[in-house]
Symmetry: C2
Subunit: 204 residues, 2 copies
């Protein structure tokens, strides 16, 4: 695809670098921007650049933040004694949107995965351990994706904090709401039977 202008070509190349955006989609986005006011597109570019330049990470939980401490950590209405350990910022957003968790978070920034060259040292595990020690955390809730890497990470951190007196839990695994038993994989079904709950607790 030959474009009639290098300015256009550069803009298309920049958009094509984004995940899930090919050259044709990039061209559609650029031609859309071309129809907007100059000031609006200027604002678009500045907003994106400013976001990357000025964004901060909470020094306590490594979540995205406008200041030194994020809004969740600074909120005294939340239970600061319960820490939910997640892989990335997207997981924080997903859990927050359920409005079911009133504790605070700790973003690992990834998951232990030797095949991808990610070891414990590249993750925010040290800060988690020292945080639990210092803040006398009562409970750690692991909310990691249910796969080998997630389980490895849980196992590793659990060993690291075994000497501390906090409760360690993980989010429930089982049949998803709206799922069908006959299509569930064996491992999920087996776990959901092994971890069955009293009905009183379930309908609570």
């Amino acid at each position: 695809m030959q474009l009639p202008s290098t300015l256009l070509e550069n803009a298309v190349a920049q958009f094509s670098k984004l995940p899930g955006i090919g050259k044709k989609t990039a061209l559609r986005l650029v031609l859309h921007l071309l129809k907007q006011e100059v000031s609006e597109v200027q604002f678009f570019g500045e907003t994106i650049a400013r976001m990357r330049r000025d964004i901060k990470f909470c020094s306590r939980c490594h979540n995205i933040s406008d200041g030194d401490i994020c809004a969740i950590c600074a909120n005294s209405m939340r239970n600061q004694q319960v820490i939910c350990v997640v892989e990335n910022i997207r997981d924080v957003i997903a859990i927050e949107s359920t409005q079911q968790f009133n504790g605070v978070y700790h973003v690992l920034g990834g998951i232990i995965s030797p095949l991808d060259g990610v070891g414990p040292d590249q993750l925010n595990i040290e800060t988690l351990v020292s945080r639990i020690e210092k803040e006398e955390t009562s409970e750690i809730v692991f909310a990691l994706n249910p796969n080998i890497q997630g389980d490895t990470t849980i196992y590793y951190i659990q060993k690291k904090i075994a000497h501390l007196s906090c409760t360690i839990t993980t989010i429930a695994r089982g049949i998803a709401f709206g799922g069908e038993l006959e299509y569930a994989d064996e491992m999920t079904l087996a776990r959901s039977i092994a971890n069955r709950l009293p009905v009183q607790q379930y309908v609570k």
Copy 2:
């Protein structure tokens, strides 16, 4: 979806304005940019803004251009006497990628569509007529989308240039390559029979 930072929220809002990009996709794009270097994202923003600010339109054919006259109009190897009339810049790119057309273009910037409030005055029709008069064009090839608006536009322009001596043609309509006869709509099939070609000409 509650985001933990206003900087993030503004960036997501900007991306969500683009066509076909919802809030979830916008967040994925922004989080991807967040993993890139500050200088890279700065460059991204600047490239987009510069594209909109500095891009020019060819004063002759209204195609996108880096200068006053686009590369196609400035190319003396192309037949400047044959003008292909298209709706927008995307059509120029599509036709150019076939490498089958050696003439020049004229971008109307839209199509006559009273229902959408687009009349002839909002399109680059006046400049087309005066261009044909001045340049003594030998042929006008209409490459507009095959629908009522396209046919109306062809009819309108044809009336305007009836007094001039140039040939007026339109791109062929018929069964698309790889298409199947039984699934073609009746109008297309009827036209392709009415406009049948001698086989010698077809296999040329």
